[in-house]
């Protein structure tokens, strides 16, 4: 202890100076601790917390993005399958419609042909009738001219029958 006291005395250590220096250091310590370090450490902590939050959010967003991509692919795959089914359906419907139209067209054509045939038959009959009538008129007129007399109703009827029989054969 004596050695220490002597050592301190030799180095000029005495109470007032020692206390003054100690108090001055303690002032710096207390002020920095209260007003500087606390706020800086809080700020660093706040920043660290925000960075961690940001990282967590980034992770979350990344996860959400991956999920969204999966969903998007799923929707795309479903849409693709749906569109394929729709195309198939449309193709089948179109084929069915085409067949139906074709059948109807064939039927229509057949009907037209039948009607045409009927019309032809009717026209033919009508024309034959007209020809017959004309022929009978011609026969009657020719006969009147050849015979040089006007045929009466009986003659005309008889001549008509004879001409009609010839024409029918």
């Amino acid at each position: 202890m004596h050695i220490l006291t002597e050592l301190f005395e030799n180095f000029g250590v005495d109470w007032p100076k020692f206390l003054a220096q100690t108090i001055l250091f303690l002032i710096v310590y207390l002020v920095l601790r209260r007003f500087a370090f606390a706020s800086v450490i809080n700020m660093l902590e706040e920043r660290r917390r925000r960075i961690e939050e940001g990282q967590l959010n980034a992770e979350k967003i990344k996860k959400q993005l991956a999920e969204a991509e999966l969903r998007y692919e799923e929707v795309l795959r479903k849409a693709h399958a749906d569109s394929k089914a729709l195309i198939e359906e449309a193709r089948a419907a179109a084929e069915a419609s085409t067949n139906k139209e074709l059948q109807r067209a064939i039927k229509d054509a057949e009907l037209i042909i039948i009607h045409a045939k009927e019309a032809i038959i009717i026209d033919r009959q009508r024309m034959i009738e007209e020809v017959k009538r004309d022929m009978i008129s011609l026969v009657v007129a020719t006969t009147e001219k050849v015979a040089g007399k006007v045929l009466n109703a009986d003659d005309q009827q008889r001549l008509n029958k004879a001409a009609a029989a010839v024409l029918a054969s």
Binding site: K17, V28, R33, A38, S39
Partner: protein, 283 residues
Amino acid sequence: MLLFTLATTVPIEAEPILAKLHGLFGLLSSMTNSILVSMILVVLLVTWAQRATRRMELIPGKAQNFFELIVEGLYEFFEGIVGHHMIAKSFSLLATLFLYIVAANWFGLLPGVGSIGWKEHGELIPLLRPTTADMNTTIGLAIVFMAFWIVWTLREVGLVFFLKHLFGVKGGVKGFMAVALMPIFFFVGIIEVVSILIRPVSLSLRLFGNVFAGENLLTTMMSLGHTLHFPDWLAHLSSVLLPIPFYFLELLIGVLQAFVFALLCAVYLNLSTSHDEEEAEQH
């Protein structure tokens, strides 16, 4: 003889600068040039910290960014030594010790410090003296730390564990061997107590010695031309040129000594508050 003269270029005690005051102002007669420098440092450090942290923002400005850079760097460094459980308590003191010592050491390198003053009885009384070149400061810093060290240690580990840690049988030895080794470990404990008591002295003497030696070195280099009786023009030229390399050395030593002081404090704290041994025994 020449070397002895050179080695005592700067007086070992800080010089009183208001020694002539009496009466009501007599209290101020203890005011030394190193206390004046300490007061300037208090103002400088507090102003700097206050300016840097006046408007704290998440995206910092230049001053805040620089202050945060230092604080964050020191925080991580000390946390690595004292551990996560002690850093919240001890960071402010360790960081203040480091900043205060760096500021004090570098302040001593400013032109005029130690060289501007007045003459009394043919001796120069400098107005300013590096505060860490005064043993009152360094012993004050060491004793403040040791006071906090005792409080934190006892709060952290308790008196029983602390005494057990000092005097107890270590290494997990049990039974007869433990009883046999008790006297040895008790003796080791006494040595440990002595080493703890010596810590303030070793911390303060190391810092004081380095800074005081640096001051002597610079003063010696400045006055070397005159001491060796060079011609006036050469003495003036050498007083400017010769100290330049040593200024760079002192810049380095200034930060290195602050680092060593704070590092040793952190290590002492870690040694006394570490729970490793306790945990090891429980396992």
